[in-house]
C-alpha cells in the first residue's frame, strides 16, 4: 500500500509538472498569427510513456499478488487459531466461539498475540465485516458462499467494528466493538460467559424478563438465539453497538443507554426487529428495573 501510494504520488508530480510547464510556456500571445508546427507524434516519446507505466505496473503487481495469496490462506483449522463464527443480522453481529462453546453479540472479545480465524456468514442480507484499524473487510454471504479470513494484533485495546455493505436503513448504525485483551483475561472472560445466568433478584421482575425478553434474547444458559446475547451486557463498551458507554469518547452511563434503547428501539436503529418493550406491555417501572439489572450484569475479566 505504501509502495502504491509512493508510485502514484511520483506519477502525479510528473504529470502535474508537465501540465504546469505547458500551460505557462505555450499560452497564445496577443497578435500571434503564425500557425504552430503540426506535429504528428513522436515514436520514441510514445514508447517511453508506454513502457515506463508498464514497468511501474509490474513493480506494483509482484507484491500485490504475493499479498493476495498470503491473505487468501485459510488458517481456520490451524493449531493455535482462535475460531470465531461471525453471523451478521439486520443490524447486529453475533460472535460464536465454537472451541469454547461461547456465544456473544455486538462485542468481539479476543486474546492478543493469537491468530483469530473468522468464518463469516449472514442470516439475512449481505453485510461486510470490517475492523478498520486491524484489517481489511470481508463480506458476509449466505450459506454456500461462506468466507474465511483471519487477523491478529499484539495491542490490547478497544477498536471500532463496522458494517461495510449497504444492508438497509440502519446500515450506518450497524457498528460493533472489538476488544483485544491479554490471553489471561480472555480465559477469564470465557469462564465468566459460561457461568450460569444471573437473573434479576426481584422475582416478579425476573418473571417479566424471562417472559418478555428471553423468548428471543439469551443470558448465560437461558433464553433463545434469535436476538443478541445479553450475557454481561453491563460491562460492554456500548449498547446496541452505537450507544457508547462511559469510558468511550462522548459515552454515557450504561443504564442511561439501556433505557434510551428500551424506551424506543426504532428511534435508535430504524428498521431493527426488536419490538418496543412498551408494546409488549412493560411498564416504565419494569423497563427501568430491567435496565438497572442489565447495567449491573457485569463480567469480571
Amino acid at each position: 500500500m505504501k509502495l502504491s501510494i509512493t508510485i502514484m504520488i511520483v506519477v502525479l508530480i510528473v504529470v502535474f509538472a508537465i501540465a504546469v510547464y505547458v500551460l505557462i510556456k505555450f499560452r497564445r500571445k496577443k497578435g500571434q498569427t503564425d500557425v504552430p508546427e503540426q506535429v504528428e507524434g513522436n515514436f520514441k516519446l510514445e514508447i517511453i510513456w508506454t513502457v515506463i507505466p508498464l514497468i511501474l505496473v509490474f513493480i506494483l503487481a509482484v507484491p500485490t499478488v504475493q499479498k493476495i495469496f498470503a491473505f487468501g490462506d485459510d488458517h481456520y483449522n490451524e493449531k493455535g487459531s482462535v475460531q470465531v463464527k461471525v453471523t451478521s443480522h439486520q443490524y447486529w453481529w453475533e460472535f460464536e466461539y465454537p472451541q469454547y462453546g461461547v456465544k456473544t453479540a455486538q462485542e468481539l472479545v479476543f486474546p492478543t498475540g493469537k491468530n483469530i480465524a473468522f468464518e463469516l456468514k449472514t442470516a439475512d442480507v449481505l453485510h461486510s465485516f470490517w475492523v478498520p484499524s486491524l484489517s481489511g473487510k470481508m463480506d458476509t454471504n449466505p450459506d454456500g458462499t461462506i468466507n474465511r479470513f483471519s487477523f491478529s494484533t499484539d495491542k490490547e485495546g478497544v477498536y471500532r467494528g463496522k458494517c461495510a455493505e449497504l444492508c438497509g436503513p440502519s446500515h450506518g448504525l450497524m457498528e460493533f466493538k472489538v476488544k483485544a485483551v491479554n490471553p489471561d483475561s480472555f480465559d477469564k472472560w470465557v469462564a465468566a460467559m459460561k457461568a450460569p445466568a444471573v437473573l434479576p433478584k426481584d422475582q416478579a421482575l425476573a418473571e417479566t424478563f424471562k417472559k418478555s425478553c428471553l423468548s428471543c434474547h439469551a443470558v448465560g444458559d437461558q433464553g433463545g438465539p434469535v436476538a443478541p446475547n445479553l450475557t454481561g451486557i453491563g460491562s460492554r463498551e456500548s449498547v446496541a453497538g452505537i450507544l457508547l458507554n462511559e469510558g468511550q469518547d462522548g459515552g454515557k452511563p450504561v443504564k442511561e443507554n439501556l433505557k434510551t434503547w428500551l424506551e424506543d428501539p426504532q428511534a435508535v436503529k430504524p428498521g431493527n426487529k426488536m419490538p418496543a418493550p412498551k408494546d409488549l406491555g412493560l411498564t416504565d417501572e419494569q423497563i427501568d428495573g430491567i435496565a438497572d439489572y442489565l447495567a449491573n450484569y457485569k463480567l469480571n475479566y
Binding site: M8, V15, V22, F26, V35, E37, L126
Partner: protein
C-alpha cells in the same frame, strides 16, 4: 420528383414529437438529460446536507437510502448517458460528413424509450417509494423479502425500458459510423470524438444485454416469484453481482470514452495543433474498451472469490492505467509547442486532465486487492469514482457543450459566465471530493445515512458539503448562461472558434436540416484544417448539387414508447392487491400489459405495412434558403 413535398412539415410541439432529425433529437436528449441531471443533483445536495454533521436527522434513514439509490441510478443512466447521446447526435453525422444517422426512425425511438423509462423510474417518488437498495441493487436486499415497496420494481422495469433506448442508440451509431462516412474519410482519418463514440457504441452493444438479462431475472424474482437470487430456494446472490458488474464496469468506460473524445477535439482546436499521436490514441481507446470487459470482478474483491481470481483481476485492472496514461501524455504533448487559448471549453478540458489523473491513480490503488480490502465500500471509493465521473466525465461534457453550443444552437454561450461556472465547478468539486479520500482512509463507509461523532469525520464532512454547494452554484451559472443565450439572436459564423479542424465547422451554425448541401470530399485527417492550410475557402464537394432525400417525420416512435411505458407499469402492478375492483380487474388480469403491448406492436405493424419513402428537397429550394435551419 414523385415524393417532392408530399410530406407535412410539423410546427411547434408536434415538430418535436415527430422529428427524426439528429440535430433536434440531440436537443431533446440534452433537455431530458438536463432534467434528470438536475433531479440527480438535487438528490446529491440533499445527501450532502444530511451528512453535514454527525447524527443529523435532516432526512430519515429510509429516505436517505432512497436518495443515494436514485442519485446513482439517475446520474449514470438518465443524467450523463443522454448528454453523451446529445453530443453524439449533434456532432457525429456532421463530423463524418453525413446528412443524418443511418436509422433516423430508430434514433427517435431510442430517445423516446429512454425518456419514458426514465420517467417511469422517477415516478417511484410519488407512487409509494423510490428504490432503496443502492444503484447496484445487490440481492438479497433488493428482493421482495427485504425491499417490500415497489421501489426496486420501478428500478428494474424503468431501467429495462431506458436501456432499450440506449442499446438502440448504440447500434444506430455503429451503423452510422461504419456506413455513412464521407468519401475519403477512412477509419484512420476519423476525428477522435467519432472514434471514441464508435468504440463506446460497440461497448454498449456488448454490455447492455448483460444488465438487461440481470434486470429481467430480478424482476422475474420479484414479480413472478422466480428464484434466481432467492437463497432459501437455491438462488445465488453472488450471481447478481457478477451480472451487474459485467455490465457495470464496461459502463464506466462507455461513459468516459466520449469524454476522452471531447477532450481530444477541444485541446487541439485551442492549441492550434493537431492531436499528438493520433494512431496511439485510437489504439489506446480500443485497448481500454477491451480491458474494460476483463476487470469486472475488481468490484468484488471482498465478496470472497479467492486469491486466484483476485490476483488476475488486480493485474488486469492495473494494466488499464497504461493506455490511459498514453492518452494523458498525448494531450499534454498536443499542447506542447502550441498556442493555448483559455476559452471556457478549453478551461473545462484543461481542468479535466489533472482531475482525471487523480481519479486514475486512486483507481490503480484500488486495483490492488489487498489494499482494496481497506478501501472497498468506503468514502475512498466514493471519492475515486466521483473524480472519474464528475471531475472527468462531467467536465468533459461541459467542455463539449460549451464547444459545440454555437454549432447546435447558432449562438455563442457567454464566455464570462462560462468561466465563472468553470471556477465554481472545479473548486467546488475538489472541495467536495478531495477530502472524501481521507474520510475513507479514516474508516467512514459509504452509504451511511449518518455517523457517530468523535471519529474525526466532522470537519471533513462539513467541507465536503460546502464544496457540493459551490459545485451546484457552478452548474446554476451554466444553466443561467444557457437561458440568457437562448434569448440572443442567432447568427454565429460557420467556424466561431476560428480554429475548427473538423467537418462540422465547415457548415452553417446551426446546420440546415440536410447538413451538407453537397457531401464533402475528405483529403486527410482534420479535413477542414487541411483545406484551410491549403488556402481553400471550404471543403471540396464530392458530388454535384442535386435533390436531397430526407426521412419523413413520424409520431410512431413516441407512440411505441408510450405503449412500452404502459405495459411496464401494468407488469409492475400485476400482482398488487387493489382495494378498487376495477383496478384489480385491469391489472391482475394483465389487461394493462396487453393494451400497452398492443400499442407498441400495432405501431410496429403500421410501420412495416406502410411504406414511407421520405421526401426530397429540390435544388431550387437549396439555392433559395441556403442557411435556413
Amino acid at each position: 420528383m414523385a415524393h417532392a413535398h408530399s410530406v407535412k412539415r410539423h410546427k411547434g410541439l408536434m415538430d418535436w414529437l415527430t422529428t427524426v432529425d439528429h440535430k433536434k433529437i440531440a436537443i431533446l436528449y440534452l433537455l431530458a438529460g438536463g432534467l434528470f441531471f438536475g433531479i440527480g443533483g438535487i438528490e446529491a445536495v440533499l445527501i450532502r446536507l444530511q451528512l453535514i454533521k454527525p447524527m443529523n436527522d435532516f432526512v430519515s434513514a429510509q429516505t436517505f437510502n432512497e436518495l443515494i439509490t436514485m442519485h446513482g441510478t439517475t446520474m449514470i443512466f438518465l443524467g450523463v448517458m443522454p448528454v453523451i447521446f446529445a453530443l453524439m447526435n449533434a456532432v457525429i453525422p456532421l463530423q463524418i460528413g453525413a446528412r443524418d444517422v443511418a436509422f433516423p426512425f430508430l434514433n427517435s425511438l431510442g430517445f423516446w424509450t429512454f425518456l419514458f423509462g426514465g420517467l417511469l423510474l422517477n415516478l417511484s417518488w410519488i407512487m409509494g417509494g423510490a428504490p432503496d437498495a443502492g444503484w447496484t441493487s445487490y440481492t438479497p436486499l433488493s428482493t421482495t423479502t427485504y425491499s417490500t415497496t415497489h421501489g426496486v420494481d420501478f428500478y428494474t422495469v424503468g431501467l429495462q425500458i431506458a436501456g432499450l433506448g440506449t442499446l438502440i442508440g448504440g447500434i444506430n451509431f455503429l451503423a452510422t459510423i461504419i456506413t455513412m462516412r464521407a468519401p475519403g474519410m477512412s477509419f484512420m482519418r476519423m476525428p477522435m470524438f467519432t472514434w471514441t463514440s464508435f468504440i463506446t457504441s460497440a461497448m454498449i452493444l456488448f454490455a447492455f444485454p448483460a444488465i438487461t438479462v440481470g434486470l429481467v431475472l430480478l424482476s422475474f424474482d420479484r414479480i413472478l416469484g422466480a428464484n434466481f437470487f432467492e437463497v432459501s430456494n437455491g438462488g445465488n446472490p453472488v450471481l447478481w453481482q457478477h451480472i451487474f458488474w459485467i455490465f457495470g464496469h464496461p459502463e464506466v468506460y462507455i461513459l468516459i470514452l466520449p469524454a476522452f473524445g471531447v477532450i481530444s477535439e477541444v485541446i487541439p482546436t485551442f492549441a492550434r495543433k493537431r492531436l499528438f499521436g493520433y494512431s496511439s490514441m485510437v489504439f489506446a481507446t480500443i485497448l481500454i474498451a477491451f480491458l474494460g470487459f476483463m476487470v469486472w470482478a475488481h468490484h468484488m474483491f471482498t465478496t470472497g472469490l479467492g486469491p486466484v481470481a483476485n490476483a488476475l483481476f488486480s493485474i488486469a485492472t492495473m494494466l488499464i492505467a497504461v493506455p490511459t496514461g498514453i492518452k494523458i501524455f498525448n494531450w499534454l504533448f498536443t499542447m506542447w509547442g502550441g498556442q493555448i487559448r483559455f476559452t471556457s471549453p478549453n478551461l473545462f478540458a484543461i481542468g479535466f486532465i489533472p482531475t482525471f489523473v487523480m481519479g486514475g491513480v486512486t483507481g490503480v490503488m484500488l486495483a490492488s486487492a489487498p489494499a482494496d480490502f481497506q478501501f472497498h465500500d468506503t468514502y475512498f471509493v466514493v471519492a475515486h469514482f466521483h473524480y472519474v465521473i464528475v471531475g472527468g466525465l462531467v467536465s468533459g461534457l461541459l467542455s463539449g457543450l460549451h464547444y459545440w453550443w454555437p454549432k447546435m444552437f447558432g449562438r455563442m454561450l457567454n464566455e464570462s459566465l462560462g468561466k465563472l461556472s468553470f471556477w465554481f465547478f472545479i473548486i467546488g468539486f475538489h472541495l467536495t471530493f478531495f477530502v472524501q479520500h481521507f474520510l475513507g482512509l479514516m474508516g467512514m463507509q459509504r452509504r451511511v445515512f449518518t455517523y457517530l461523532p468523535n471519529q474525526g469525520f466532522d470537519t471533513l464532512n462539513m467541507v465536503s458539503t460546502v464544496g457540493a454547494i459551490l459545485m451546484g452554484i457552478g452548474i446554476l451559472f451554466f444553466l443561467i448562461n444557457a437561458i440568457v443565450t437562448a434569448f440572443k439572436p442567432k447568427g454565429v459564423a460557420d467556424d466561431p472558434w476560428e480554429d475548427g479542424r473538423t467537418l462540422e465547422w465547415a457548415i452553417p451554425s446551426p446546420p440546415p436540416e440536410y447538413n451538407f448541401k453537397q457531401i464533402p470530399l475528405v483529403r486527410g485527417i482534420d479535413a477542414l484544417w487541411k483545406e484551410k492550410m491549403a488556402g481553400n475557402k471550404g471543403m471540396t464537394p464530392a458530388e454535384p448539387l442535386g435533390p436531397i432525400h430526407m426521412p419523413s417525420p413520424t409520431i410512431l416512435p413516441f407512440v411505441m414508447s408510450v405503449g412500452i411505458f404502459i405495459a411496464g407499469l401494468g407488469f409492475m402492478f400485476s400482482k398488487e392487491d387493489f382495494s378498487n375492483s376495477f383496478m384489480s380487474l385491469i391489472f391482475n388480469n394483465w389487461i394493462v400489459v396487453i393494451i400497452g403491448l398492443l400499442i407498441t406492436f400495432g405501431s410496429m405493424l403500421l410501420r412495416s405495412l406502410y411504406d414511407d419513402h421520405g421526401w426530397h428537397i429540390e435544388v431550387e429550394e437549396l439555392d433559395e434558403e441556403g442557411v435556413k435551419a
